[in-house]
């Protein structure tokens, strides 16, 4: 059958003008049954014979045996547990916005490392693509991808080095205790985005000045943010806002969210609706935009940390 098909193919390639006689005379081996097709001209014969032959070939197809070189041993079983579906969904969301929410993704993976949990296998390709050109990101993956991740990285030449981290210190750092941002980090993050000196005000939350330390920190942050909101010159990129949101100590998040919501609802009763539509880089929206976006990001991070805490 292969010979017959090759004959038809050779004729189609060269054209019946040059090859019709061989076909019509049935000289080629095994073409007899095709030669009995009634046709008014060599072109019609070639097209009908090819149609019958290809249908015949398709109907009689036998799948070939797989070559030994095309089989690989399966991934080993995992010794660690995978993260919950809720956290997996959160990681999917973070990966889809990894350009902007990189800091949140890094924080999530660090926490998963600390808890000894693995990411779901379906996320490995996206995580490998995210990490393959950055050694800090690669170090972060080593302890959360498990046996499945190690196996997968070996299968794709693009990812063969994705889990190769020469600096073991980076992996140890990723595996170390979860780094919680301190007050100084908050000050620095806020200072980065403002012109006037916030440091002296922020230092007022030092111990011994009345109220809890968290409450004073929240108050200092709110004072600063509300002052910035009134200043028409102050705008923030979304990445800048993510950075601010990512350094807020987890313990103050519920209080801070409450205060920010309150501040927004005092002036814009329905700020929550349409919040995601607000583009903080759009100056037409003014400071309402970035402030609302920051509140949204802080709330997002709070939800993320709550989910991770339940792991």
């Amino acid at each position: 059958m292969q010979t017959q098909w090759n004959e038809l193919l050779a004729t189609a390639l060269l054209g019946t003008e040059q090859r019709q006689r061989a076909l019509l005379s049935g000289e080629a081996e095994g073409l007899e049954f095709l030669a009995s097709i009634e046709a008014s001209d060599p072109e019609q014969w070639l097209l009908l014979a090819s149609a019958y032959a290809c249908t015949y070939r398709r109907a009689g197809q036998i799948p070939p045996e797989i070559a030994r070189t095309q089989t690989v041993p399966a991934a080993s079983a995992e010794s660690k547990q995978r993260c919950s579906m809720q956290v997996a969904n959160r990681l999917v969301d973070l990966l889809q916005q990894a350009e902007i929410k990189e800091l949140f993704l890094v924080e999530s993976l660090t926490i998963l490392t600390g808890k000894g949990r693995l990411v779901p296998p379906a996320l490995l390709p996206d995580l490998f693509e995210w990490a393959k050109r950055n050694k800090q990101r690669r170090a972060l993956l080593v302890l959360v991808v498990g046996e499945r991740g190690k196996w997968l990285a070996m299968q794709n030449p693009e990812w063969k080095n994705v889990l190769q981290v020469e600096d073991k210190g980076l992996v140890e750092e990723a595996a170390g205790s979860i780094h919680l941002p301190g007050e100084q980090a908050v000050i620095e993050a806020l200072e980065l985005s403002v012109k006037e000196n916030f440091l002296s005000k922020a230092l007022s939350f030092l111990p011994g000045q009345g109220g809890s330390r968290e409450a004073r920190l929240v108050q200092a942050i709110m004072d600063k943010l509300l002052a910035d909101r009134k200043d028409r010159r102050v705008f923030h990129s979304e990445q800048g806002l993510v950075k601010m949101a990512s350094v807020m100590p987890p313990a103050i998040l519920p209080q801070l969210i409450g205060r920010m919501r309150q501040a927004l609802s005092n002036r814009e009763p329905s700020w929550l609706e349409g919040l995601s539509q607000i583009n903080p880089s759009n100056s037409a929206l003014g400071n309402q935009g970035w402030f609302a976006k920051l509140a949204e990001l802080i709330e997002y991070r709070h939800q993320m940390l709550e989910e991770l805490a339940n792991e």
Binding site: L13, G15, Q44, L47, P63, Q70, A74, Q96, P121, P125
Partner: protein, 434 residues
Amino acid sequence: MAFTWTEQNVLNLTEDEQTRRDGAKLATRAKWPTLGVDEQAIWGECQGSGKTPYRVSIDQRELAYRCSCPSKKFPCKHTLGLLLLFAKDPTLFQNVAALEWVTTWLESRQARTAKSPSPVVNQEAQAKRVQARVAKIDEGLQELRLWLCDLVRHGFTNPQVKSYAYWDRMAARMVDAQASAIARRLRQIATIPMRGDAEWAARLLVEVSRLYLLADSYQRIDSLPAELQEDLRTGIGWPRKKDELLTLPSVRDKWTVVGQWIEGDDSLRARRVWLYGEHTQRVALILDFAPGRTPFDETYVAGQQYDAELVYYPSAFPQRALVKQVIGISTRTLDDLTFLAHESFSAMLEQYASALGCNPWLERLPFILRRAVLSPHSEGVSLYDAELRTLPLKPPATGDLHLWVNIARSGGHPTTVVGEWDGYEVNLLEVMAV
């Protein structure tokens, strides 16, 4: 019977990531002053920026939804938010009598789906239109046959074969002749000579000869069995009226969505949704189209099982079907359908051969294969069965990680897969995680 909502099912209702994210944000009790549920519907009011809250109602029986917000997305973030909240904690929804705006919507849906009186048909005018169409198609197909003969007379090495314009001119002629399906096939065939792989000439010969067989057989259509006549008309692009189809006998079964595939470009997307009937053990294909970024009319999620009546398009090997009526929706997994699965590629190919025997123009056949292994290696990725036999896999588009996600999910272990076989390669639709 209501659909069982899970967070994953809900998120699968849309392809739009922004809607998913926004919906997730709205999935908290505080955003919904009113929440309710009954046997047929789920509803809620979401406080938006205006004074009037957005009203969301979901018909659980037929998986339809409506929101009063101005968003053009479908489903919108409010619909998704409400369903996510229901999936997370259904106890938040009071089981009470549906509010008036919910029942009004449900009633209007019912009224729309109820049979409307047939418009008065001018049979004489209709017969004339059909006659004119037949004449146009006859003329067009005659031209196509001559054109295909010219093509093989000059041979595939003729430089114009590699020009898209060469194929597109004939495709445009077929559009004029009202043979839209042939026009679509010609435009698909146009890409074959440009692929530059070793198989392009063989594949081109297969496609043009099958097209010729179609055009040639059409000359003798009246002498063919009625069902094969229908396949010929489908192959040409003769439209079928939905109303007429719905008068044909229906098949009731528990139909499970086993996989789907969307292809096309920014101008038009086509979606194939494959359903398997639990009792009849039949396959059904829901084929629909959406222009641009417009969402498809209905949402199908792998694992949804519809207790439904389907009407098959007449064919010697019926696959394409219309949903006539949905009685209830539940969920299944691929594990529940293993009795419909093949144990080997050989078994699947046997079924394919008998399908081709019925309809030689069959485009593709779906299959479920047990104990299949996805194996990446230095030359690419192979899919092999329990008998260590393999068929070629459709290569992914550049940058598409879908295949690698499936490899990661299975980890090189035997698993159940769902695919489409088109005579050349396997298009992988679903892989069960191991």
